[in-house]
Subunit: 371 residues, 2 copies
Amino acid sequence: MSSGSPPSVPARVAGERYRALTREPGHRSIVVIDQRRLPHTHVLLTIDDAEVAAEAIRSMVVRGAPLIGAVGAYGLALALDRDASDGALSAAHAMLDATRPTAVNLRWALDRVRALVAALPVGARADAAWQEADAIYAEDVAINAALGGHGLELLRELAAAGHDPLNVMTHCNAGALATCGFGTATAPLFLAHALGIPLHVWVSETRPRMQGANLTAWELRQHGIPHTLVVDSASGLLMRRGDVDVVIVGADRVAANGDVCNKIGTYDKALAARDNDVPLWVALPSPTIDWTLDTGDRIPIEARAADEVLRIAGRADDGSAARVAIATEGTAAMNFAFDVTPARLVSRYITERGVANDARSLHDLHRGGAQ
Amino acid sequence: MSSGSPPSVPARVAGERYRALTREPGHRSIVVIDQRRLPHTHVLLTIDDAEVAAEAIRSMVVRGAPLIGAVGAYGLALALDRDASDGALSAAHAMLDATRPTAVNLRWALDRVRALVAALPVGARADAAWQEADAIYAEDVAINAALGGHGLELLRELAAAGHDPLNVMTHCNAGALATCGFGTATAPLFLAHALGIPLHVWVSETRPRMQGANLTAWELRQHGIPHTLVVDSASGLLMRRGDVDVVIVGADRVAANGDVCNKIGTYDKALAARDNDVPLWVALPSPTIDWTLDTGDRIPIEARAADEVLRIAGRADDGSAARVAIATEGTAAMNFAFDVTPARLVSRYITERGVANDARSLHDLHRGGAQ
């Protein structure tokens, strides 16, 4: 696949296809949706500088493990446009890598571009970096499609078991906005809905930044998939009531033992799922697997600003953007962005290569001889 | 104990004692803090009419199982001031009882006042109702103190095991604002802190209405107890990190089998506690136990307005009261206010009569012969 012409994806805004990240063919810049403004305002930002790319990742203009991997790769290409020396390559890699510590896709994408261009003459590096970033982008689109197909088969089986509609719970956003294509955890949902399998999605709002309420609910609405927003802590009750048939989440990093690092609250949902015999499926592109870590307990958990807990952004009654403080000024808050779900709580790993039931079969699928 | 002179409680606002509910001696009205406005504004409301009392409970001006029991009892007294006939008694009981379905204390208090006054001549009913409401109030203050003492002993044991500080996690608000005294789940904390036991409290914000952020954090600050606010779904991670020594929660209704109905999210915390060998203590006054229900699955779960999920109230940057919408207009939301934690996940029940390890010993403590 080449840049600028990825395969068609079903994501839409008001009937139009949209993409979290686009590159106009021939331009040395990328355009992203400012996800901090969704769902209330649809603003596009042009990124034409490595430092702007870094800031976009840091401030969560773009988020989602696969998407920040691609933006990081383009950020490195932008840096090399300005200065392709060894020193500049190293400095730009370090700057971009430091923006967010938990998702491994960012590091993976940066390492991949750097490894390719470091072997080239300085004058050939920038073009090669753009090409490699385009390849990462196109591969992610393809990964989403393949992963969605494997997840679709699992959903079909569940629907055939008599769930009508199939009640799916998601957390955070692992949709089109988290990737270059149409998502990881939501990819099977979009496909199932397009094929007429009746679905209803419980959208967990995902405090503190509300990616469930702001992004996932918005994406599902674009597709016309019935959904209901709930607070994060409603998951236990809903599962106990029998209102959830399956929980599907994405991942920011998966350790070699199958432990899953994902948005804070995933572990709580995994526990509720296990206590109520609800399957938990983790959808992950293979670059999300960190084979160098033997256990999820070694994954660095990003602690973000307390202000994200203390103030909530949204739309005021008059339609303007606003934020409200929820506690007394000066209240201390802790804001870990991710948690780790032990492998024992995961029912299925869905990747672009197929479905694995445990860490061993995940390993065989990706590193075994028979690929 | 008589009305107007309950024992001293340690709750304070800016150095002054405060109370969620007060009755000026001799007045036929009560004064409550409007808890919807906390922590940003401290507004007192006078309730001098049964319908105002009902609306205060319904709209959560007052909340917390013990407190709404007392306000309900006073509401019935106010109704009888106007009309003490059998028909009026029955109508007022029904109106007040319908305000909130889950907590059993409200029904318990209303039944208690009605049973007492129904046997009296119409002309004597109102005074008797006021007296009985005062008694319910005073008993709740005494219950808080006794329950706090029993919880304190448990905290002492835990502190003696080498936790310094003792890291306690709470959910919602089971503090002075939920009761007539100084709280249920927080009562042991206030006592322990006053005695110099080093504490740190993880305050779970408690979406959708943010009682943790708005009320519990505010109460802890009044007492100078170190605390940190976290989103509800951080509980699993914090316990997995070993940062929580005990989880203490209140209860809105406890079934005869020991199942605990409490604020939505309690069950999720109970699961995280069990998975990480963290004890879960439930603090409950005995009127919270519903001996007529064999299982918690039969407790009616209140579903409140979707708007509480979709819009968040707080303080704007300019200091004014404001609210923000977190999802696209028209998004469907479900808002169950409570969940049920199975008895198997509860480590200790703390009541005013002592500490029980399971439903059987809870029964023996309250209905056994050997008091």
